[in-house]
Amino acid sequence: MIDILGYKVYENVTVRDILTVVVVMIVTVLIAKIVTINVKRVLADRIRRDQLDFITKVIYFSIIIIAFLGVTPILGLNLTGLLVAGGVAGIVIGFASQSVVSNFISGLFLLWERPIKIGDAINVDGVFGIVEDIHIMSTIIRTFDGLYVRIPNERMFTSNITNLVANIARRVEYRIGISYSDDAGKAIKVINDVLSDEPFVLKEPSPDIFVDSLGESSVDVVIRFWTPTSEWYSIKTNMLWKIKVELEKNGITIPFPQRVVWFANKLGLEK
């Protein structure tokens, strides 16, 4: 047994050294996991989830990298020499793993630039969804209909990203047609009252309600108002019906498309 442990694998590195490195790295991973779990437990209620994930990832990989740098001498590896000696191999490996490295570097830039955070609602190249996780090689998105989408970080980095929740307030816009016989001023007042009663329709920037055009069948009123981004969807989906109900209560009609047709000769029906 002792002979096996003392068996030289290469240069002065023995099986014992390799086993030591393996054990140290396993213990390190365990320690890193324990530390990150405890950090998560302590900070869970105090900071945002995306910040917490970022911090725990940094801690986790820092512990592992420090441990790895610590054990490399046991393996007889001189990192400085390795960098120089590995130049040619590096080029070969570099070409072979171009996309891997590209994804890795893009991942680092994404973590640094932070155009998105975990939990953000985003649109990347037509993929709409919630950012579930940002890994070092890829970003995981859960689409609004519940699908799992993995996007390589290189694509994330080079695509147009629309972050739907990056700003704290968003605007909602409706267009409502009212009958030509109705009072547009009254309609605007009714709509304004409905918006005033809704807590999450923001006071400032103030709602904007105006007659935008005289359409074929209706007088078109445009309604624009702002809401906190967190409430945007629920407000957008609720307010239109509230406005419609309130307009009807006040005798304002939303007409169907209609066309007045004049006949040159009287209809046979009337004769």
Binding site: D45, R46, A166, N167, I168, A169, R170, S196, D197, P199, F200, L202, K203, E204, P205, W226, P228, S230, E231
Partner: protein, 232 residues
């Protein structure tokens, strides 16, 4: 109305709201009816029920920790001067259960909540909005609807400044109350025509101190100031 109640004795039936706790087998059942909204909680355990005013940023739901009070009449303040004014703030009533530690049961309000944006959509903050008259002394208010905020205004700039609104971070808001008054205190340091630093301070009034929602949520909060940089 504010104060401590034995859990089985709480039964407040008023024109604008109803709060009652009833025994139901192994539970106490907390019911609150206000503005046609019902809150119902089952309590497994016992203790005292505490009702007091809380930081007014919880209704309809907590999306911000900022309160903006707009003054109906703007004030022009001379350079290098200090004045104290009184404004009102909206009341939200918190119901807590107390048995060694506090836990929140419910928060409701008799006022109509409204929110606003202070600053820009990208860099501003969402605030609970309230408009108030300006008073030179502590005004009389309905303690279930309006509290009084003692506002110390310091114009440390070299210019006359126009002051029309205050935005405050409610972390650290200390509210005191009795049967006739609900009061809190804040300071505003105006450093230039468009910039001021605001923060709640502990007025240490000789009244009962309200339990804060953030304390009850076990959030450790340092006293926080806010810099108003998008106009006063």
């Amino acid at each position: 109305m504010y104060g401590e109640y034995d859990i089985g004795d709480l039964n407040l039936d008023r024109d604008d709201f109803l709060i009652a706790v009833e025994k139901d087998d192994n539970f106490y059942v907390y019911r609150r009816l206000c503005k046609e909204e019902v809150s119902l909680k089952r309590i497994a355990g016992s203790g005292k029920i505490v009702l007091n005013p809380v930081e007014p940023v919880n209704i309809p739901k907590n999306i911000t920790n900022f309160l903006e009070i707009e003054l109906k009449d703007k004030i022009i303040i001379e350079p290098k001067s200090k004045i104290t004014i009184y404004v009102t703030f909206p009341i939200e009533i918190g119901t807590f259960i107390l048995n060694r530690e506090f836990a929140i049961l419910d928060v409701f309000t008799l006022t109509d909540p409204k929110y606003t944006l202070y600053g820009t959509p990208s860099k501003g903050v969402i605030c609970r909005y309230w408009m108030s008259d300006v008073y030179g002394k502590v005004p009389k208010t309905d303690v279930l609807k309006e509290g009084v905020l003692e506002l110390e205004l310091l114009n440390s700039s070299e210019d006359w400044v126009e002051f029309g609104k205050v935005v405050l971070d409610v972390y650290g808001m200390k509210i005191y109350y009795d049967d006739t008054r609900v009061i809190s205190k804040a300071s505003v340091n105006i450093t230039s025509r468009g910039i001021a630093e605001t923060q709640f301070v502990d007025g240490k009034y000789k009244m009962k101190k309200a339990i804060e929602v953030y304390t009850a949520k076990r959030l450790h909060v340092l006293r926080r100031s806010f810099v108003m940089e998008w106009g006063l």
